[in-house]
Every structure is written in C-alpha cells, then in structure tokens.
Amino acid sequence: MKKCLAFLLLIAAAMVAAPALADAPITVHLKNHKFSPSVIKVKANKPSMIILYNDDDSADEFDSSSLKIERVVPGHNKANIRVRALAPGKYPFMGEFHAATAQGVVIAE
C-alpha cells in the first residue's frame, strides 16, 4: 500500500517535468501485416517517437524485447510509441499477432 503511494508521488513528480522529444515523430504504417518502413533510423542517445498506424482490420501488438515495448494497436487505430534513448545498434521489433510477416528493426546511429 505504501508502495502505491510512493509510486503515485513519483508519477506526479515525473509528470511535472515531461521532457521534450529530440526530433519529429516517425510515421510507420502496418498494412497487410507488414511494416512500412520496416527499417527505422533514429539518432542514438536521444529519445524518439514512432506513430504507428494500423491500417489492417485486426489488432496487432508492437512487440520488442530489446526496446522493452509491448503495445497493442487495434485495427484502424494509431499508437504513439515512445522509444527511449538508445545506444547505437539494431533493435528488432515485430507485430506479435502476425510475426510471420510483421517484422522490422530500429537502427540507432
């Protein structure tokens, strides 16, 4: 219970100082269970934002263990996906519900 309180306070404190994003958001579409673009380049060591439009009828989940993101996006919906500041490297992601085709990678450089 105390933990919850402490966390609420923490949230309140963090909300006061919401940091600005480094660059304009990157738009990505998911259609026929494929990402386009499927290779997304971001600046290393800066947070970025991906706006994912799911143009399919069915929901999918933007899932990446290396990015630590799991985000359900219903059909014909969009999601603002925050990507933390990344060390240079490749960070694969997938649409978990259609992993056979929905694959992509974030490249931080």
Partner: protein, 277 residues
C-alpha cells in the same frame, strides 16, 4: 496454427503460474476455490472489456492510456501481494500448525483471500486481453485457416494450464511446515518483478525519465522472448537488460516486503534470494 498455439500458450502460462502460486499459498483455506474462480471470471470479463475498448483506452492520457492502465493494475497487484505476505507473516505459523494438525481447513487464512483474488484477476486480465484481441482478429477473418488457428489457440490454452498445474502440484510436495515460507518467498519475487514491469510501462508512457540506462545485459544467456525468459520473467521478474529504475523498483519492493514482514513481529520467512530484476 503453431503460431496461435505459441502465443496463447505464452500468455496463459504467465497468468497460470501466478494462479498456481496463489493456490499453493492458500492451501487448506476454505473458500479459496471460490475466490480464485471469481478472480479468473472477473479477469476474463475484464479482458474482454479491455480488448473491446483497446482503442479508447490507448487514446487516454495523450496516447499513453494503455501504459498507465497496465502500470496501475500491476501496482495494485504488488500492493495485494504485499498485504498477503505481511498478513501471513503474523499468522503463518498458526496456519502451518493447523494444516499439519488435522484440518485441511485453515480458518485463519480467509482474510487475505480477497487480496489474492484481486491478484488472480489482474493476472488473467493482463494476459487475457491480448489473447482475446488475437483470437478475435483470427475469427473475424473466417475461413479454414481460422479454424486451425482457433484449434491451435485451444491447445495453447490446455498446454498453458498443464504447466500451471505442474507448478501447483510441485509446490504441494513441499512439507506443510515449509510450504508457506516457500510461497511467501515466491510471492515476494512475483511482486518485485511486477513492480519492475510497472516501471517499464511508466517509462514507455513518458512518466519516468530517470535511470533509464541499461545496467547489464544477459541477452546472450537467456533472451526475454524465449520461453525460459518468459517463465523467469513471470516468476522472478527476469529482464535481459534491466535499467536502473527497474532495479531500484525491484530491490525496493523486496526490501519493503521483508521489512514489513519483520515489523509485524513474525517468525522469519526463508531467505529471500534476490536473483535478478
């Protein structure tokens, strides 16, 4: 079909392991079957609701509604698990005695059933909403492949339930005198892992922006997206590359539970191994 089986299996074991631990932790308590069933039913109903309103939920709080919702229910579960453990610390000894004595009835344990019912509900809700969305998407497409996928989903459900049952019956082989000590330890690690996961959701929602650097990386050993990784993630909060805030939440939760359990002046639980966050 295999894809459907794997997805459903993964979600079901995550919720199922938690149910297995809760069942073991309430061994001998009358009314626990009803409490766990209510938790599961409420969780399934909640999962359908969340799946149905996934779009609306996501659009709340400047597009971070889903993250805030996930973090909130995880922290609710952390609170309930803490309450259970602290309560057990003050009553666990008499419960173990009653259990050994004769009764498969442990009257004194009824108090925290509500808390554990909520934990079960939260676990089913979180994993269930993804299963509902996934299966609904397949069913909406129709056709023979859809039937195969639903069959795969059904098999995934059964396989997941079987692993959870193994967990439960495995725990039951522990002698009655030690059982509650073991489940207390498991529940502490469960709570710590959930707190660390809540931190990730808060970070993704943009509410926590400090200590986000990766502290270590063990993806070469166990990957988060492997079955072993998923199991360890659910049980002890394993993360292949935890960041500072995650580790702080993990350690703080273990510390808080252990200190509270001592404060209620109880026989010491078994040593808590802080494995990894």
């Amino acid at each position: 079909m295999i894809a459907a089986l794997i997805i459903v299996f993964r979600e079901v074991i995550e919720a199922g392991l938690i149910v297995g631990i809760v069942l073991a932790a309430t061994t001998g308590v009358p009314g626990r079957g009803r409490a766990v069933t209510m938790g599961v039913v409420a969780g399934v109903l909640g999962a359908c609701l969340v799946a149905g309103f996934a779009g609306e939920l996501a659009n709340l709080f400047q597009g971070s509604g889903q993250e805030l919702f996930n973090a909130s229910i995880l922290l609710l579960a952390v609170g309930m698990l803490t309450w259970h453990n602290v309560w057990m610390a003050s009553h666990g000894r008499e419960m173990a005695r009653e259990l050994k004595a004769a009764g498969h009835q442990v009257r004194s344990g009824e108090r925290t059933l509500t808390a554990l019912s909520v934990v079960v509900g939260v676990a089913v809700l979180r994993e269930g909403s993804e299963v509902v969305l996934f299966l609904y998407g397949i069913a909406a497409q129709g056709g023979t492949s859809a039937a195969a996928m639903v069959a795969g989903g059904g098999m995934g459900l059964i396989a997941g339930a079987a692993v959870s049952a193994l967990m439960y019956f495995g725990l039951l082989t522990i002698p009655a005198g030690k059982l509650f000590q073991v489940t207390s330890g498991l529940i502490t690690l469960l709570a710590a892992g959930m707190a660390a996961q809540a931190v990730i959701f808060l970070q993704n929602g943009g509410w926590l922006e400090f200590f986000t650097n990766t502290v270590w990386d063990t993806s070469w050993l166990i990957r988060d997206d492997s079955i072993t990784g998923k199991l360890l993630h659910t049980l002890i909060g394993y993360s292949q590359a935890p960041n500072g805030a995650q580790l702080i939440a993990y350690g703080a939760t273990i510390g808080m539970i252990v200190i509270l359990m001592r404060l209620v002046n109880a026989p010491q639980p078994s040593k808590h191994r802080s494995v990894q966050a």
